[in-house]
Symmetry: D2
């Protein structure tokens, strides 16, 4: 039985508690959030102990594993402390928003001899898995390019998360698609060219990028084209637009997860409620649920968890490079080899 603590009691922390409720091998014991009412709410919903200081949680609870579900930029201290306390980690994506943070987490994990999984949940998305499986199985032939759009309506930066100004469409969204592009193609990013614009969210006091386009160049000379924006109208029938095309030499695959086959028109307007996710017989289903369940199952079996530090650091490197390229207007090389 894995005794588990969760740091961060927001949407994601709560979702992880829900995902593991009654799951074999999982014993979620405690949740920590800087905001006491948040911690108390999640604790109450799922029968956990509540904390506002993660060090105290680590000291008082005998935990085997910790899930770090704090905001993008706030993973370092929680992860380092949990690793140093001997806990295996599941860290939300992105692993970190600076190379220094990523390296500090990696150092702590290695020093403690624990395992670290980074929460790239799209590796459990059935559609993205099919891209990966067919690519890895050779059915696509060599991957020639990928076009990946992952965007949100204004709702996400203005309402859903309170720390959007400290993040960006690149950190929040492209950390998913950078990982997916490398995973599906099996290639390493060597250079990045990014362009974008800002001003609309800034005028709403959220001083970050509105639009980010990034062209990735891989080690075999092929490319991927990523777009993420935070300025889709709130009248879009889905908060998320996710479209993914892989063009292989032999086959092409297209995925459109914006309209997942369910449409509802009613007094509140027109919505695409989504097909993946939701509860089945009281058990939550969907990519992040399957991910955290896999984390627990593998720990129970003493298996390696993943994607891990290398994938997490690689994505951080690429997204750092995307921001550098956005700022400078130059091509930014990504030298993954220089780490470690």
């Amino acid at each position: 039985m894995q005794r588990i603590g969760i740091i961060g009691g927001g949407i994601r922390g709560s979702m992880y508690a829900h995902s593991l409720r009654g799951f074999p091998g999982a014993d979620v014991r405690a949740v920590c959030d800087l905001a006491e009412p948040v911690a108390l709410k999640v604790a109450d919903d799922f029968g956990l102990s509540a904390y506002t200081d993660h060090r105290r949680m680590l000291a008082e609870q005998e935990l085997d594993a910790v899930i770090v579900a704090t905001p993008d930029f706030a993973h370092r201290q929680a992860a380092v402390d949990a690793a140093s306390a001997g806990c295996h980690l599941l860290v939300e994506k992105p692993l970190a928003t600076t190379r220094e943070d990523a390296e500090a987490i990696a150092a702590a994990v290695r020093a403690a001899g624990v395992q670290c999984m980074v929460g790239f949940e799209n590796r459990w998305n059935p559609a993205v898995r099919q891209l990966r499986e067919r690519s890895a199985g050779g059915a696509l032939g060599r991957v020639l390019t990928q076009n990946i759009l992952l965007s949100n309506t204004y709702f996400v930066p203005t309402t859903m998360i309170g720390w959007a100004a400290k993040s960006s469409p690149a950190w929040f969204l492209m950390s998913h698609t950078v990982d997916a592009a490398a995973w599906v193609s099996g290639r390493t990013v060597t250079a990045v060219d990014a362009r974008g614009s800002r001003g609309v969210l800034a005028a709403r006091s959220i001083d970050t990028w509105d639009v980010v386009h990034a062209l990735l160049t891989f080690d075999d000379g092929t490319t991927a084209n990523l777009t993420s924006t935070w300025v889709l109208p709130d009248s879009m029938p889905s908060v998320v637009d996710f479209q993914y095309q892989v063009i292989g030499e032999d086959s092409a695959m297209y995925v459109d997860l914006q309209d997942q086959s369910v449409r509802q028109a009613g007094p509140d307007g027109f919505r695409w409620p989504g097909l993946l996710g939701g509860e089945i017989d009281g058990r939550l289903q969907g990519p992040p649920t399957w991910m955290v369940q896999d984390f627990v199952t593998r720990l129970e079996r003493g298996e390696q968890v993943g994607p891990g530090l290398d994938e997490g650091a690689a994505v951080t490197d690429v997204v750092v490079a995307i921001h550098e390229s956005l700022e400078s207007g130059n091509t930014v090389p990504v030298d993954s080899g220089s780490r470690g």
Copy 2:
């Protein structure tokens, strides 16, 4: 731990064994198929004992539950024998293809005091569940009508199943949609008008209906319109076409499960591989998997399983009436009240 036997080792029997492999509370022990190689194959794949005579399986194995996955028309003997042996039942839909068979199964189940679930797997389909949940929760207002299309390419009657001539698009497909229409609206069917045609499959030596349309009238005077055919071209990108519209007084919902957001173009043509189902980390997912897992979980907890005999018999009554109306050209009343 539920000790489980499976009668019928075809596509469905094998899928159930796969679905329960490693599932908490499930101990699948044996599989039975009239064709010995089929039984041996499934037994080998999942580490089970193989039988060709279900009575012998029931006698030799101490089973708590039996899954009846024989062809549509061949449920009766297996179900009656298993119930009489004291086993809980999961019977593939339709429960039976005659009222007599349905009543015989019901009698055996009641006499033995066991539970019986009928495999209407669309109750675990996330899209259909959303229709049901929003309808039951009042978000749709009163359901005014439903348009449900569930069809297959020629592949199903000509290649996938060997007993299509003993079934029909109404038995094979409308048993799903009749149940769904009643479940989503919460209404009881009181009359049926069906029209259709035959001749194309008959010319391929499969003497059954090519096309079936059925208008259902419910107890509140509203209607549902069901269509099922077995004559879609094999070049359709999906073997199944499933489209479902619910028009409520306040809201309408549309579901299109033919193209589930994943498209693949390659040397073998263009396909819609589907988003639901498939393995995640070696664990099968999807509606029939979640259904059989729910069956096991509820038995483990001593809870009531369902949908059960009443729903199964109601669907059999309606589909029998559909065939009567197809033959006679008349409206056929459905008097569910007359059963026990």
Copy 3:
């Protein structure tokens, strides 16, 4: 040059004037509407003479052709008078809403020796034409069945037209799809079974059917399944839902004209604005425009126009039968042979 008068200055009458503005061979001279402001508005927009009495228009203007664009139920007098005045006719679909009206119009047309076209505009819809052309060309093989859904949001009966209580989804919408089903398959309807419900529009003081389903049986024993409702939510992104499936023995074709590839999300919500129709360089395009232009071009060339009285009367017969079946719950035979 065809001198043309238009009777009925509503949405359709105005659209026809727009469609013929500057079109070679067309000289639209006058418009008539019982409501003088309506007549004056159209006259002003397109430089026409305005009338409130069609007999006066016929007497004063020397017209070659008249377009009858009055409400569904009000075609007879206008058509009979215009034909008797020696004018060729383009009569909006349905030709008439009773057999008597249809016969009266036919008698007047024949007596006057003029031509009569009935406005089944979907014969100029590029998608429906492809169904027809591929069917007639043999690419589909024998047509086995058709599923046709043509519905509107509440907006149409409650706001767009003021005479919905004197029409129905069957008259307003199925007159299109009954004609299309016969045209695409090349078959004649021999019997009708219809079911539906009413009450929701009636509660809004529009006492007509909410939902109509009709199963058509053709002379070769095949079927078509038609649904039309007037109760789609106003939040649907399009006022019209039009879905058409033709299943042939060799090929199947699917048309979905609800979402015509253009989607807009903005302050006013989410809309599907449609791809067909609209102005190109100031010239209106789209099915009804192409239809009325064909009417004029054929008259100019002295060619036969169509679809004509036979097709118009056949559709009236079938829709009358649909209403009879809705009322009686019985199968209603359609004996087209009895006419003429």
Copy 4:
């Protein structure tokens, strides 16, 4: 009446002859193609005089206008000679594939005092027009970014056109989307960053780019993201994939012209036949038809035609810059002001 000659008797030249057959104001007289059988075929189909030398055509026929429908790289001589002969021009896009060619054509047009239209047919595509109209009308708010994908299956470079090695996805496809991006946003491109790959077509002896991605920067700092490939599998149901998203500050619009609402499954596989285009009553319809008809109508009325030399040269500048950036890996500024 405009007396018209067509230079280039391939797919496009023939289509233009078809588009103008019987169109008011158009008198297509002659067609010229270097391949005599091609010229004779088109001449025969449409009742024209055939030439293999365009100078001879210009000398012998008294033409008012000439349509230049030669391959991408072969517009210069035909256009210069026709302009010098006093003919108005409709030149296929791109105007030219070098700045020198574009300038030579511009010089000849100006010297002759004739008009020149460049065949950016998407300005007559109803979907793209809606983007433009809503953008220009202010409904979108400021355009923040555009994502435009326009790609072909292998069929186009390997089979449909014989001169693909002298063109590229950027010349053949992005000349459309570069023009559209500027037209829809009303902005001028100031810099280009392009990345792509080659090798797959080269291995089939067509030594050009397989994949091109281009990030456009506009004069207001906003961006557009263009992708074009020539390596989609031939099993894609449509030869063309065209997807267009415009994100404005207030509204977003999405257009997907790959699947235009018509789907056909038959013995030859699964196809999306398209909704736009095709004949209606023997008259061809669709964007290029409406474009060439507008060209003729405007000449007849003595109006200005367009888009013209400025738009044509601007697109050539940008696509030249895209190729420079592909080769150098650098940002390439586009200084439209330096022309003229």
